[in-house]
């Protein structure tokens, strides 16, 4: 038995979405169809459990595109291990959220 946390289906979906390249909250919402009140708290819990980590986009990039900077999320190594375990638990996860072309961060 591995020591990774066992995720709920919703949390696993969000983790899969981040791994698939949906790297900010709104894109995860759009991909999973979950409301903001579910996605953002879940992402904070995932970050608290060190399955994902966040970082702010450089201000210069946002300024160049005339928009506010975004907060991006990325899977940690523990998050990848946990996602592998979740995929075994939820076999349809990869089919629900296929890999997405990673946006340049």
């Amino acid at each position: 038995m591995t020591g990774e946390p066992r995720l709920s289906h919703t949390a696993a979906m969000i983790l899969q979405a981040v791994n698939a390249g949906y790297i900010y909250g709104f894109s995860v919402m759009e991909m999973t169809g979950l409301p903001s009140g579910t996605v953002y708290p879940a992402m904070r819990r995932l970050e608290r459990d060190q399955l994902i980590r966040s970082h702010w986009e450089q201000q210069s990039i946002a300024d160049a595109e005339q928009r506010p900077p975004r907060k991006y999320y990325k899977l940690t190594s523990l998050g990848k291990t946990t996602l592998d375990a979740s995929r075994r638990r939820y076999p349809l996860l990869s089919k629900l959220i296929p890999p997405h072309e990673v946006e340049s961060v």
């Binding site: 900010y24 909250g25 709104f26 919402m29 759009e30 409301p35 903001s36 009140g37 579910t38 996605v39 953002y40 708290p41 904070r44 819990r45 608290r48 928009r67 506010p68 900077p69 975004r70 907060k71």
Partner: protein, 505 residues
Amino acid sequence: MNLAGIFFRAFNLTLLRLAASLIPRRQRAEWLKEWQSELWHVRQACSMECGTRRQTEQKIAAFCFGAFQDAFSLRQYLRTGVPSGQYLASAVQCILFLVVLATAAYCLAMFLPGVRAAVQPSPYRDTQNLMLITHVGFDGTSYPTIRAEQFRAWQSRKQHLFSAFAFYQPAAKSVMIAPHHSAELSIAQSSRNLFDLLGLPIHMMPSDQALHSNMPGLVITDEMQQRYFGGDKNISGRTIEVGSRRVEIIGVIPARLWTLPGKIDAWLLEPDEAATAIPSSSRGFLVGHLGPSFDHDQRSDHWDMSVPAGPGEVDYLTCDSLSGRARKPFSIFFFTVILALLALPATTALPLGEYAATHHKRSYSKRFRRWLFLAGKIVLILPIVYFGSLDLGHLSASMNPATSEYIQIVSSFTICLFALRWTLRDQRSRCPVCLGRLTNPARVGHPSRTFLAWNGTELICAGGHGLLHVPEMPTSWFSTQRWLYLDPSWEVLFPDAPLTSPSIP
């Protein structure tokens, strides 16, 4: 952008700001920044989609409402994870709690008639020269001790000490309010000069207007007027029967102005100065007015004297000034506070335990704030003790004055002692930097190894300002509790607590 667009943007931003108010201040800025950024992108994405304006704004509003769930979730986590905010607010909460207690004690005091009468200034005139005379051992009680014949004898004799006497004798009497309507009331049969001597500001009917000048006059309380005469303002001049005597109502007095012994509904003022209608053996209360020859510097508010009571007999009397009686509740409070201060060292250690184990100087503002907090607690405790003990002493209106006094003495001393004890212990168990309560007590060391290492209890400041070491057994090298200040390198253990410049209100 049209007016509706501006309105919806302002509405969405307001929602986010409202949700942000749930987030602790330290995390709020970043949290709001993320949501505002996401909102911008959501608006961009929605505006590109096909749909009516209403659908678009509904979608954006639904997104913004989700911020509340996120805020609640984060707030809950921060509360259960690290008690951030709590340690900062606990000092203010403590002061607020004491303020609420003091206010409640004061409000209850104003609600209870007994306390209201005890704390108000004396309604009588020249209280320093007015003395309540009782037999020795009965002062402060509501037992009548002076016989009417003694009053008459002293009144007729030339006095060196007193210039005038007034006498009243309370008794339950049947009062015929109206035909076929009688009530059992407490009527004080009194000498006619009682109210003149006391200087009570009551509106009496002038004697020349009295319809029956030979009839005894009756002064009733406003409560009796309200209860039995329906608040009739023209009650003066009405005649009623008290016992078997016909009397004429000549005035009304507010019940709260009567603070002398006895719960009285009406005063039956005898027409003659000597009140000969009062039976000689009846016992009542005597009020004397000191003459101008009396030297106040040589006597206190309370003194005993002996008077000849007949051939070979002597009466021992106590004279209690009405000004002293009015000050009595505060005198009791003051006395018990002094007693409690004397007894305090027997119940807890007096030092506040802010001895640093390492060389660490706190700023003057932090030291001042700590002392201010201690002073604030003590200042708030005093009215709680004063009004709280008076409330307990006068909870029941039928309570004997002597019993009330005993209850006030005991409760005032007890509350004051334990409140001061709590104040010191509470102060010692707070962080000197942020005034937050220390938490997580942990036993350190073994009693058997006292000579090798310290053993005792270690407490920690949840704000990460330091550790408090309290020795189990004071030794020559570890006699008092010590405070170990933590430097910013410990910050990693307290992710949500700023080690520098805590934002204490």
